[in-house]
C-alpha cells in the first residue's frame, strides 16, 4: 500500500474518530503513453473538511483531480461515493453526483457577461426564456457572499484575472455541490481576497460541503486545511491531519530537501543608478489616476520588490516602463539619459524587458515551438546580412536551455507541451536573449511549484549578480521578502512605503499596502475592486 509512512499510520487512528469519508478514490492507477502518472493512489475526501492535496508539478495532482471530476478515466481502481462505487465517464456525470471543480486555468467565456458565464448551460428558465431577473438576483447574492461588487452584466474580458477567479468560484457555488475541487484557487488573488475566499470555504464546510484544495502556497494550506495528502512521482508519500504540521514538513515530503535552500537570501553588489523614474502618471478613464506621480530609482545589480494589493497599480507601472501605455506621462531615465520613445519595440531596444504577469495571454505564442518562442524578441541577432542563420539560432537556444535548465526533449516541440515552470523559463529566456539592462518580472512565480520556484529565484539572483537591474513584482509576502534588496509598497496608484531589506517585515508591508483603505475595510475594498482594474 501507499500509506506506509510511520507518520501517517499514527495519524490514521485519529482520523477514524469523527470524520466520515464522503468520496474515496481507491487504488487508482493511471497510465499515459510512456509514463505512470498515478501508481495505486488512494485518496479520501472527508465530509465537511478541507482536504489538501500537494505535490510538485508532475506529481499527479491534476491527473487525480481530473479523474475525480470525470475528465479522465483511471486505468485501474475505483471511485466510491459514500461507499457505493460510481462511474464517472465524463464531467457531466461528476456534476450529476455533486462533484464540482474549479480548474487552475480559468474556463470562462471572455465574450460573455459574468451572469451568462455563471449560468452557462444551466440557465434558469421562466416561461421558456431565460429568467434574467432571478439569475441576476442569485449572482448579486453570490457576489455579496464573496464580498465583491462585480456587476453581473460586466463582460468577463473586462475583469482582471483575480476577479475572473472570483467569478469562477461563484459559478461553482451556483451549482449545488457536495464535493468542490479547487485547483490553485488563490494563484491570482491578493491577500485580502484570499481572506474572503477562506471565509467562504469555512462557510461551505459548515454547510457540509467537502473541499479538495490544491495549492502551491504552503502557508495557505496550513491555514485552511484539515487533512493533507502529499503526492510525489504518482505515489502518496504522506497523509495526515494538518494539526501539528509545518511548512518544512511538507516541503521535505514534496521534494526531499529542506526549505532553506528554496528561499536562499543573497547579498548583491549594487552599482550605479540604472533607472530613474520621475512622476510617472497614468490617468484613469473616468477620472483619477491608475498611477499617481510615481518616482523611484533602481541600481544595477539590485532586486527591487514591488508589493501591493490587487489594483494597486504595480502591473500598470510595469506596463508603462515596458512601453505598453503610450498615454502615460512622466520621465524615465536609463543610465542618466531620458527615454523619449514610447513603444514596446523601442523600450526593448533600449534594454527594458517585461516578463508579463499572464504567461498564456501575453508571454507565449502557443502555435510556435519552444525555440521560436525563445527567439521571437531577438531575431535581429541571428541575421547574416538579412536572413536568419539556423546555426546561430540553435546555439542561442541550446545555451539558454542549458543555463536556465529548461526541461525540454526537443526545442522544436510545441511550447504547450511544457509544464508551467518550464514555460515561464522560456519567457525568461526570450527576455534575456534581447540582452536587456532591466528586467521587470511581474508575478514570475505564479502557479509554479516549489522546485521551479527555487530555480526561478536562483536565476533572478544570478542575473542580479551579473549586474542586471531587476524589478520583482509579487503578491506573496514570503517571496518578496526573501528575494528583494529593497521593497516598494503601492496602494491605489501611489507609493505608500519603501523598506530596505533589513527593516522590512510582513506586518510593515501589509500595513503600507492598506494605506488609503480606511478602517471601514470592505466597503473600500469593493469600491477599489470596481475601479481598480489594472488592464
Amino acid at each position: 500500500m501507499s500509506l506506509t509512512s510511520t507518520f501517517s499510520s499514527t495519524a490514521m487512528g485519529s482520523m477514524a474518530i469523527g470524520d466520515k469519508v464522503v468520496l474515496r478514490a481507491e487504488n487508482i492507477t493511471k497510465v499515459f503513453p510512456g509514463t505512470l502518472a498515478l501508481d495505486h493512489v488512494t485518496f479520501d475526501v472527508y465530509e465537511g473538511k478541507v482536504n489538501v492535496l500537494v505535490g510538485e508539478n508532475g506529481a499527479g495532482k491534476s491527473t487525480l483531480m481530473k479523474i475525480l471530476a470525470g475528465a479522465e478515466q483511471p486505468t485501474q481502481g475505483r471511485i466510491l461515493l459514500e461507499g457505493k462505487e460510481i462511474r464517472l465517464r465524463n464531467p457531466l456525470d461528476a456534476t450529476h453526483y455533486g462533484i464540482g471543480i474549479i480548474y487552475q486555468e480559468l474556463n470562462l467565456c471572455p465574450n460573455m457577461s459574468v451572469m451568462d458565464n455563471i449560468f452557462l448551460a444551466r440557465e434558469i428558465r421562466g416561461w421558456g426564456s431565460i429568467d434574467r431577473r432571478t439569475q441576476r438576483k442569485i449572482v448579486l447574492q453570490l457576489m455579496k457572499r464573496l464580498e465583491h461588487s462585480i456587476d453581473p452584466d460586466t463582460l468577463v474580458s473586462d475583469l482582471r484575472i483575480g476577479q475572473q477567479q472570483i467569478v469562477e468560484i461563484a459559478k461553482a457555488l451556483a451549482q449545488k455541490v457536495r464535493v468542490l475541487i479547487m485547483d490553485e484557487p488563490t494563484s491570482a488573488l491578493s491577500a485580502a481576497e484570499v481572506e474572503v475566499l477562506f471565509r467562504v470555504i469555512r462557510e461551505l464546510k459548515a454547510q457540509g460541503v467537502s473541499i479538495v484544495y490544491i495549492s502551491h502556497k504552503l502557508e495557505e494550506l496550513l491555514q485552511i486545511g484539515d487533512y493533507i495528502t502529499v503526492l510525489r512521482d504518482g505515489r502518496v508519500v504522506a497523509h495526515a491531519p494538518i494539526e501539528g504540521i509545518d511548512v518544512p514538513w511538507i516541503v521535505e515530503r514534496m521534494v526531499g530537501r529542506s526549505l532553506s535552500s528554496v528561499f536562499a537570501r543573497e547579498e548583491h553588489q549594487k552599482g550605479d543608478v540604472l533607472l530613474r523614474v520621475e512622476d510617472l502618471t497614468l490617468p484613469r478613464v473616468g477620472g483619477g489616476y491608475l498611477l499617481d506621480h510615481i518616482s523611484f530609482e533602481l541600481r544595477a545589480g539590485e532586486i527591487l520588490g514591488f508589493y501591493g494589493l490587487l489594483g494597486a497599480g504595480r502591473s500598470d507601472m510595469a506596463d508603462c516602463l515596458a512601453g505598453r501605455r503610450p498615454e502615460a506621462t512622466g520621465r524615465i531615465y536609463l543610465n542618466g539619459k531620458e527615454l523619449k520613445s514610447n513603444s514596446v519595440s523601442e523600450r526593448l531596444a533600449a534594454g527594458i524587458v517585461l516578463v508579463p504577469e499572464d504567461r498564456q495571454r501575453d508571454g507565449l505564442v502557443p502555435t510556435l515551438s519552444v525555440a521560436h518562442n525563445m527567439l521571437l524578441a531577438s531575431l535581429q541577432r541571428y541575421l547574416n546580412r538579412f536572413f536568419l542563420v539556423r546555426r546561430k539560432e540553435g546555439k542561442a537556444v541550446r545555451d539558454l536551455i542549458h543555463d536556465l535548465s529548461i526541461r525540454v526533449a526537443n526545442p522544436s516541440q510545441p511550447i504547450t507541451s511544457l509544464s508551467g515552470g518550464n514555460q515561464q523559463k522560456v519567457v525568461f529566456a526570450k527576455g534575456l536573449l534581447t540582452t536587456p539592462k532591466i528586467l521587470i518580472l511581474d508575478e514570475p512565480t505564479r502557479g509554479i511549484d516549489v522546485g521551479a520556484k527555487a530555480e526561478i529565484f536562483e536565476i533572478v539572483n544570478r542575473l542580479a549578480r551579473q549586474g542586471f537591474g531587476i524589478i520583482f513584482i509579487s503578491s506573496e509576502l514570503k517571496e518578496i521578502l526573501a528575494i528583494s534588496d529593497r521593497i516598494i509598497v503601492m496602494s491605489k496608484g501611489e507609493i505608500t512605503g519603501e523598506f530596505r531589506r533589513e527593516e522590512a517585515t510582513e506586518e510593515k508591508l501589509v500595513a503600507a499596502s492598506f494605506v488609503g483603505h480606511t478602517a471601514n475595510n470592505h466597503k473600500n475594498e469593493n469600491h477599489h475592486q470596481k475601479n481598480g482594474r489594472e488592464h
Binding site: D39, G58, L388, P414, S419
Partner: protein, 368 residues
C-alpha cells in the same frame, strides 16, 4: 503491477506504427496529390499529355500565386477576400494603359508608357489596394473580413467603371507607340516552360524564404499565434499586418497581368470568385484559418490538388455541379485530417516530454 507496465516489445511496436502514421499524416497533402494524378491518368488517357499539362499548370500557377499571398494573410490570422477583384482591376488598368494610354487633356497629349512601365504601374496599383486593406484593418480596427469584403466590391466596381463594363480587346499595343509585347507574358516560355509557371516558382521560393528565414516571417507566425505576446516581444504588429495585405495585393496584381496577357484582353469580371479558390488552396495545404500554423509548401501542394482536381474532372466529363460537390468535400475532409494530425502531434510531443520527465528524478509533465 504487471498489467500496468507495457512490455518493451509492445512499446517499440507502437512507436514504429506511430512513426509511420506520422509520416503519412505529415505528407498527406503530397500523397493526396499523387493519388489524384494517378487516378486521373488511369481514367483519362489524355490527362498526362503534354498539351494538357501545359494548360493545367497555367491554371495552377494563377491560383498558386494568389494562394501564396493569401498564405501570408491567413498566417497572421486575417483573411483577404479582395484578391479576385484586385485581379480584375489590375487587368483593366493594364489593358487600359496599353489601348488608351494616359490622356493628359490639359496638355492635349496622350502618353503611351512602355510595356515594362505598364507592368510596374499595375503591380504598384495592386500593392496599393492591399495597402488600403492593411490601413483600414490596422488604423481603423476594421475586421479583415469586412475590410477586404469592402475592397472586393469597390475594386470590382472600379474595374467595371474603367471602360463602362466593356472589355479592352486585343491588348497587343502598337509598334509606333513602342508598347508591344504584353502578350508575351502569358504566351512566352523559357526552357519550354511558360513564364507564368516560372513566376510562380520564383514567388514561391521567395515566399518560402521569407516565411522560414526572415524575422518578418517569424513575426507573421507570432502575430497569428498570439498578437499580444508578439507585441510585447517587440514585434511591430501593425506595420507587419499592413505589409501582409500588400503582399497579397502584389500577388493579385501579378495574376491580373498574367490573365490579361494570356487572353490578350482585359475583362472587368476577370478573377471573380478567385479568392475562394485561393483560400481553399491555403486551407487544403494545412494552414490554419486561426493563424500561426502552416506554410508556403503546403499552400503550393494545395493549389496543385485544387487545380488538378478541377481540370481532371472536366476532362472526365463530370458535370460541373458534381465538380463543386467533390471540391467542397475534399476541402472539408482535408481540414478534418488536419485537425487529427494536430492532435496526434500534440500527443507525441507530450509523450516525448514525459519521457524526459521520467528519466530525471523530478518529473516535469505538462499536466499541472
Amino acid at each position: 503491477m504487471t498489467t500496468v507496465k507495457a512490455s518493451p516489445v509492445q512499446k517499440s511496436h507502437r512507436i514504429s506504427r506511430t512513426d509511420l502514421l506520422q509520416f503519412l499524416m505529415y505528407g498527406r497533402a503530397f500523397i493526396a496529390l499523387i493519388l489524384v494524378v494517378l487516378i486521373f491518368s488511369i481514367l483519362s488517357p489524355q490527362f498526362l499529355s503534354a498539351q494538357n499539362m501545359v494548360i493545367m499548370s497555367k491554371h495552377v500557377a494563377q491560383n498558386a500565386l494568389l494562394a501564396i499571398g493569401m498564405t501570408f494573410v491567413i498566417l497572421t490570422g486575417g483573411i483577404d477576400l479582395s484578391v479576385g477583384s484586385i485581379v480584375g482591376l489590375t487587368a483593366m488598368i493594364a489593358g487600359g494603359l496599353i489601348n488608351e494610354g494616359i490622356r493628359l487633356d490639359f496638355l492635349g497629349v496622350i502618353i503611351y508608357p512602355h510595356t515594362w512601365t505598364i507592368i510596374i504601374i499595375s503591380l504598384i496599383a495592386g500593392t496599393l489596394m492591399g495597402a488600403i486593406n492593411g490601413l483600414v484593418i490596422t488604423r481603423f480596427r476594421v475586421a479583415p473580413f469586412i475590410a477586404t469584403l469592402g475592397m472586393l466590391y469597390v475594386a470590382r466596381g472600379f474595374a467595371g467603371l474603367r471602360n463602362n463594363g466593356y472589355t479592352f480587346a486585343n491588348i497587343v499595343g502598337r509598334p509606333e507607340f513602342g508598347n508591344t509585347g504584353f502578350e508575351r507574358l502569358g504566351a512566352g516560355s523559357f526552357l519550354g516552360i511558360s513564364y507564368s509557371i516560372w513566376i510562380m516558382a520564383v514567388f514561391a521560393l521567395i515566399a518560402w524564404f521569407v516565411t522560414t528565414r526572415l524575422p518578418f516571417g517569424r513575426h507573421v507566425y507570432a502575430i497569428g499565434g498570439n498578437e499580444r505576446a508578439a507585441e510585447l516581444s517587440g514585434v511591430r504588429v501593425n506595420p507587419t499586418k499592413a505589409i501582409v495585405y500588400m503582399i497579397s495585393g502584389f500577388c493579385s496584381a501579378m495574376v491580373g497581368l498574367i490573365i490579361a496577357s494570356e487572353l490578350v484582353a482585359a475583362h472587368p469580371a476577370t478573377g471573380e470568385t478567385y479568392e475562394l479558390n485561393a483560400i481553399a488552396a491555403v486551407v487544403l495545404g494545412g494552414t490554419s484559418l486561426a493563424g500561426g500554423r502552416g506554410g508556403i509548401g503546403g499552400t503550393l501542394i494545395g493549389a496543385f490538388v485544387i487545380g488538378v482536381l478541377g481540370d481532371g474532372l472536366v476532362m472526365l466529363g463530370v458535370s460541373s455541379f458534381w465538380q463543386k460537390v467533390i471540391k467542397g468535400a475534399v476541402i472539408v475532409l482535408a481540414v478534418i485530417i488536419d485537425q487529427a494530425q494536430a492532435r496526434m502531434q500534440e500527443r507525441i510531443a507530450l509523450q516525448q516530454q514525459q519521457e524526459i520527465g521520467a528519466s530525471t528524478s523530478r518529473q516535469s509533465t505538462p499536466e499541472d
